[in-house]
Each structure stands twice: as C-alpha cells, then as structure tokens.
C-alpha cells in the first residue's frame, strides 16, 4: 500500500509525503484533504519516534514559581523515555513520608492505566478510586518540546464517583533546564501550573 499526503514546509513550499512500506517519499502534487485525513493516522506513530531526550531525567518542583501545593512538601518528577513510552515517576514527599507513583503513557497508542496517579491536594475531599482504570492518550507537540497527556480519571467525591478529564502539557523551557507542567481539569476554571528545575540524579 502506498499513501500520499500534502503539507507545507516551513518555507511555504507545497510538498507531499508518500509512505510505502517502511519508505517515505515526497511527491509534489498531493491535495490538502489527503493530508488532513492521513495526518491523523500518521500523527501518533510519527510522534512516537520523536521523543525528546531533553525531557528525560529528574525534575524538581520549584514551589515559589508554582501553584500552591497542599499535602505535599516536595515533588520530583522523573521522566524516563523508552521508545514511544514515557514513564512519569512522581516522587512525592509529605514531611517524612515518601510516596512514589509512576504513570506510563504511550505516544504511539492510547492506553488504559490502572491507578493513574493524580497529584492530589490535601485540602479537597477528592480521592482516587483504588483499582480503577483510566484511559490515557499522549502525544508529542511543538517539535517534540511538549508532551501532551489527556486522561479521564475516576475520582471519589462526597456524592459519587465521577470522571475528571485531566489535560496536561509538559513543556520544555528554552535551555532545557526547566520544565513547566500545565494542568487543566474539566471541573476547574483555573489552571494548575507547576515549574520544575532539572537536577542531576541522586541529588
């Protein structure tokens, strides 16, 4: 099977891609509709191959530049890259108590995650539902400088268990030594913004 699509490169030149088997070719006269249809099909696998190594490593929360975080006094985000998989390990601390939880997302395919970790705020009576499954999608954006994650997480409230859509973007800041996590909730009118600084492992 051979597929063709059309797009514009950064100089505005109309180009096309032909993907046949494992090969990728450019053909000059593909129409725009073809691009749109096939772009969706292609986006995930293309993104999957494009993990940005700069995102990997240990990132430490800078509380002064972040939304107030209650119930946790420290937060390290350890990003591991394995092909299309991105492992987001949350090393959380409350006084002497340490908790580590890892969310694994796949930029190649949507997944179902058991006990997807949501950074809770101690002051709110919203609780994770043990053993629950969370549909998760992940995608590289902005030239692989942003990792977008969408998850629909079940939460227990005082009235019921209900889904909360969580939209996250992990954005590498210029210089690759800082990371910004922006999180939106389907239930919240105000974004949560966390700023991290890269640190050497073991620190």
């Amino acid at each position: 099977m051979t597929l063709c699509l059309t797009a514009y490169n950064s100089l505005g030149t109309r180009i096309g891609l032909v993907i046949g088997g494992l090969g990728v070719f450019i053909c000059p006269d593909m129409n725009f509709t073809s691009w749109k249809v096939l772009g969706v099909w292609l986006a995930l696998p293309l993104a999957a191959w494009a993990a940005n190594p700069a995102l990997g490593g240990r990132w430490r929360l800078d509380p002064k530049r972040s939304t107030a975080l209650d119930g946790w006094t420290a937060w390290d985000l350890v990003v591991g890259l394995e092909g299309s998989r991105v492992n987001l390990q949350h090393d959380m601390q409350w006084r002497a108590t340490k908790v580590t939880m890892t969310n694994s997302v796949d930029t190649a395919t949507p997944t179902m995650a058991k006990d997807f970790f949501r950074v809770e705020q101690r002051h709110m009576a919203l609780y994770p539902v043990p053993g629950s499954m969370t549909p998760v999608r992940a995608e590289w954006l902005d030239g692989e400088r942003t990792l977008r994650i969408e998850a629909t997480v079940p939460v227990e409230s005082s009235q019921h268990t209900t889904p909360m859509r969580i939209y996250q973007e992990l954005r590498l800041i210029e210089g690759d030594q800082e990371l910004q996590l922006i999180e939106l909730h389907s239930t919240r009118g105000r974004p949560l913004v966390y700023r991290f600084t890269k640190i050497a492992e073991g620190k």
Binding site: T97, Q121, S158
Partner: protein, 548 residues
C-alpha cells in the same frame, strides 16, 4: 472501682472545689499583678528568666489568683490581652504591673521554699526541675540565677547539674519516675514538649507546677521504643478519664502519634504547651447570673427542607483561643466555633469572654471528639460511654447541640485518612441521641451518615491560611462542579489563622446558587435530603500510621 468513683466525683465536683479553694465572686474587688512578657523564648537568651517566672507564677497562684501574664500580640494564644481586660471589667480585678523578674521575686518569693537548678545543655532536666518545683514549692532556675534567687532568701532544694549528663531522655525520665511519680497527681500529667532545640516555650508550666504534675516530653514515636514504653507506663497509671496537658515534642513524634497513644488509654489532651495562665484562670468562676446561651438558629426538633442549591458552612476547630476569633471581620459570616469544653473546668472566664463577645453569626459547637481532644477510633470501648457522659454534661452547660469529631490517627498529608470506623460512628449515635448532628475531620474526610434526623458530615474542604485566596475559590468551585447533585452540602474547615474578611471575598467568587448557613442549619438541611454517600473508614483505606 473505688479509685474510679473518686475520679468521677472529682470531675463532677471540680468546679465547685475550685470555687471553694479561691474562686472570686464577680462583684468582689481584688488585687492581682500582671507581667507583660516579650517574645524571646530562646534557650540562650530569654528562656531562663521565663522559666523562673512561670514556676513562680504556679506557686504564687496556688492559693489565690495573684499573677497573670500578658503575651505579645503575635503570641499563639492571642487572648491574653482581651482576657486581661475581661478580668478587670467583669471580675473587678485591679492589676498592678510588675516590670522585672526581680520585682516579681520581691513580691512572690515568699510562696516558694527554695529553688531547683536545671541544666540547659540537658533539655529534659527542665521538665524534671518543673516536676520537682511542684512537689517542693521551688522556682526553676539556671546556675546563672542562683545568686539572684538566694538574695530573696531562697535555698537550694536540688541541683540537677551533672546528674543526667550523657543520659538519654528515657533514662532521665525513668529516674524522675522513680524519684517523684508516686508523689505527683495522677489525675493529670504535663506533656511539656512543643518547641524543642534553641527555642522552647513552656508557658503552661505554671499550671503543672500548681497542680503538682509530672512533667515529661516522652515520645510516642515507635522509633523511640524506650520512651514509648515509659510513656505507656505513665498513661496506664493515671486515674481513669485523666487529662494530658501540654503538647507533643516537635522534635520527637507527631501530634497524631501522641494523641493516638493517649486516646488508647481513654485519656484526653488539653494543649498547647504554651497555653498560659491556667493557674490564674482556674480560680475564677463564671460571673453571677451568667449562663451560656448559644446563638441557635434552629430548634433541636425542627425539620428543614433543603432546596436545590449548594449549602456551605464554615467551622473553626483549633480552639477558639487561637487565631480567627481576634482577626478582622468576625461576624460577617456564619461561623461555627469548636469550644474547648474542658475550659469550663479550668478556664471558665475565657469561655465567658468568648460567649460575651460572640456576634449573632458565631455559633459554638462541642468537641473535640469528646470532653477534650482524643481520637475515638482508639478509645477503649469500656471508657467511651464514661467520657461521653462527661461530654454531654459539658455540652449541656455550654448550650451546644453539635458534636465535632476528629481522628487523625491514620492521617498524614495526602497519605492516610481521617475517617471513623462504623463501630465508632455507632457509638456516637448511641451516646448523643439529642444532638442536631455530628461533623468530622480536620482536613477533609469521607465519613458520612444519616440516622433518624441526625446527619454526620465530614469536611469537604480545609482552608489553609497560606493558600492563595484565588486558589481557594477555584478549589471550592471545583468541588461544586464535581458534586453536581443539588443540594450539595459543602462543609469547610477554617484553619486557625485565617481571617474572615478574606473568606467573605472567597464566597463572592463561588459558582452557582450558594447559600452560606450556620452549621446547625446546615446539619438540619443535610438531614432532609441525603445526596451524599454513607461511608465509614474501610479496612482497605490507606493508613499511614498503623499504631503501636
């Protein structure tokens, strides 16, 4: 059994006995003295003089209320100044100011028989010295103060320097136990912990000295097994329903660990370690004719019907002597205040002051968990009813219709929970048939129930004073969005040092039809339409601290 009956009688008769020992009629004019403390509690600077003075205060106030201390406005207990004014106005006390320790000694050294020397390099020696001070009528000093107190005719009773050098706290307190415990009161004990290290704040020591308590700061942290063992021994040898005054050591264990431990012996906590002037306060009864009259908004047997809206209620439970009460804006919103009910026994004037200065929006509720601070999941079954009998009496005296419960034994930030087992909930429903309802938690919790007309609702939100107000509004709006059924009952705990003005601003940013109601109305409405789940602590719920 005989011992137990004696204790019960002593609890019931305590206010009367206090009155007989030196209660001051509201109309009688009398003289007393006042000192204004600064905020320097550093071991290397201001602490030794304050220790001398609070031990002297405990002795001077043994037989009559003679010495009162006013603390700076930024002291944790902000009521010392308003209460000072209250004593003058309502009890006709004429205070003469004492400006120096020297002047205090000149006036009150006659109430001491001598001095005991503690060693700042051995921190536990301070508590041993306080114990000895109560038993032997001594002031507590460091070596540098010997000449000063001897100039006032005081003789050495004991010198702890060198005795405990190199020993662990467990060893030191074991020695103190052997020497002094049998002579100390067994109706209470002084957990003189709190601040540790370069700053210590034993402002409650006057009370322990006056009452001849055993002072210690033994750990309830399982990583200190020797201290825990001795702590257990002491708690087990207190009389039933005894009180642990003071607070846990910030350097050794947690509030949750210590409160869990003492609750497991059916004891109650009255803090903090820096609560001042109890040796003075305990000697005043309520003014003649005074009767607690709460600002009830709904009758006990009333039936209300909730509309399809959000009902929000604010409660503060960090003891009304701390924080919000003296902050700007009180009275602008309906507010529930958890009263430290035991103050009826040893600080009645403070309770009268709060009731006198209450606005129509201030509503008092009972707690915390019973006649004092305790964790009910750990109260032995055979002591629960006896404790709650006491709580019912205190609530009746204070005209309170709502009981607040808190059990943080399994809590730890986002890890753990603050919930009640079904067995505990059953006990409360059985013990308090005549309340409007119950509230639970400190931080958020998820114990909820409705039986007959009595709802039990946990906090859905906790307002940290440091959290930006726009985030608080966003949090509350998120809870309102997620709890989409109407009515939604949103119970909010307000941490001690918030101010009401900022809460008014938050309520203006809330989404949807929201009504702020007093907590008695809130519970009545919650009883009319159970849109919340019934839930108790589950065995599978996370428990950070698994007990001893």
């Amino acid at each position: 059994m005989h011992r137990f009956i004696t204790v019960l009688l002593s609890i019931v008769l305590l206010p009367a006995s206090l009155a007989a020992a030196g209660a001051v009629p509201g109309s009688a004019e009398r003289a007393a003295w006042v000192m204004h403390f600064d905020g320097d509690w550093q071991v290397a600077k201001g602490l030794p003089e304050k220790i001398l003075l609070v031990s002297l205060q405990g002795l001077a106030n043994r037989t009559a209320p003679r010495l009162y201390v006013v603390h700076p406005k930024d002291f944790q207990w902000e009521i010392t100044e308003p209460l000072f004014e209250f004593y003058q106005r309502k009890h006709h006390v004429t205070f003469t100011e004492i400006k120096t320790a020297e002047a205090a000694l000149a006036l009150f050294a006659k109430y001491a028989k001598g001095y005991v020397v503690w060693e700042p390099a051995v921190s536990a020696s301070m508590n041993v010295a306080f114990t000895l001070a109560g038993l032997e009528d001594a002031v507590v000093i460091t070596a540098a103060q010997i000449a000063q107190v001897e100039a006032h005719g005081l003789k050495k009773i004991d010198d702890l320097r060198g005795r405990y050098t190199g020993q662990t706290d467990a060893q030191i307190y074991r020695d103190a136990y052997t020497r002094y415990w049998s002579r100390c009161t067994h109706e209470s004990i002084m957990l003189m912990g709190g601040h540790a290290g370069a700053v210590r704040m034993p402002a409650m020591a006057d009370w322990g000295v006056r009452q001849k308590m055993f002072f210690h700061d033994l750990s309830a942290n399982p990583i200190h097994p020797e201290e825990v063992a001795l702590n257990k021994k002491l708690y087990s040898e207190l009389v039933p329903l005894a009180t642990v005054f003071g607070w846990h050591s910030y350097a050794k264990d947690t509030e949750e660990q210590q409160t869990t431990l003492l609750s497991s012996y059916g004891l109650r906590m009255e803090g903090l370690h820096n609560l001042p002037n109890l040796s003075f306060n305990c000697q005043f009864s309520f003014t003649p004719g005074f009767k607690f009259k709460n600002n009830h908004h709904v009758a006990l047997d009333a039936k209300l019907t909730a509309e399809k809206k959000v009902y929000l209620s604010f409660v503060q439970s960090d003891s009304i002597g701390i924080g919000v009460w003296t902050k700007p804006g009180r009275g602008k919103l309906p507010f529930g205040w958890q009263v430290t009910m035991n103050w009826t026994k040893f600080s009645p004037a403070a309770l009268e002051y709060f009731h006198e200065s209450a606005t129509k929006n201030d509503y008092f509720i009972g707690g915390l968990s019973g006649p004092g601070y305790m964790y009910p999941n750990h109260i032995p079954a055979d002591k629960f009813e006896l404790l709650m009998q006491d709580a019912r009496k205190l609530m009746a005296t204070l005209d309170e219709h709502v009981m607040e419960i808190m059990d943080n034994s399994a809590a730890d930030g986002n890890v753990g929970n603050a919930d009640l087992t079904k067995e505990t909930v059953d006990r409360y429903y059985a013990a308090f048939p005549d309340v409007i309802g119950f509230i639970n938690g400190y931080g958020p919790a998820r114990t909820r129930d409705l039986r007959d007309t009595r709802a039990m609702i946990s906090y859905d939100y906790y307002i940290d004073p440091r959290r930006p107000r726009e985030e608080v509004a966003a949090d509350l709006n998120e809870l309102i969005a997620i709890n989409s059924k109407r009515p939604y009952f949103l119970l909010v705990h307000v941490r001690e040092s918030n101010d009401v003005n900022s809460l008014v601003e938050i309520t203006r940013q809330l989404d949807g039809p929201v009504e702020i109601v007093p907590v008695d109305v809130f519970l009545k409405l919650a009883a009319s339409n159970q849109t919340y789940t019934t839930r108790y602590q589950l065995p599978t719920d996370p428990k950070h601290f698994k007990g001893f």
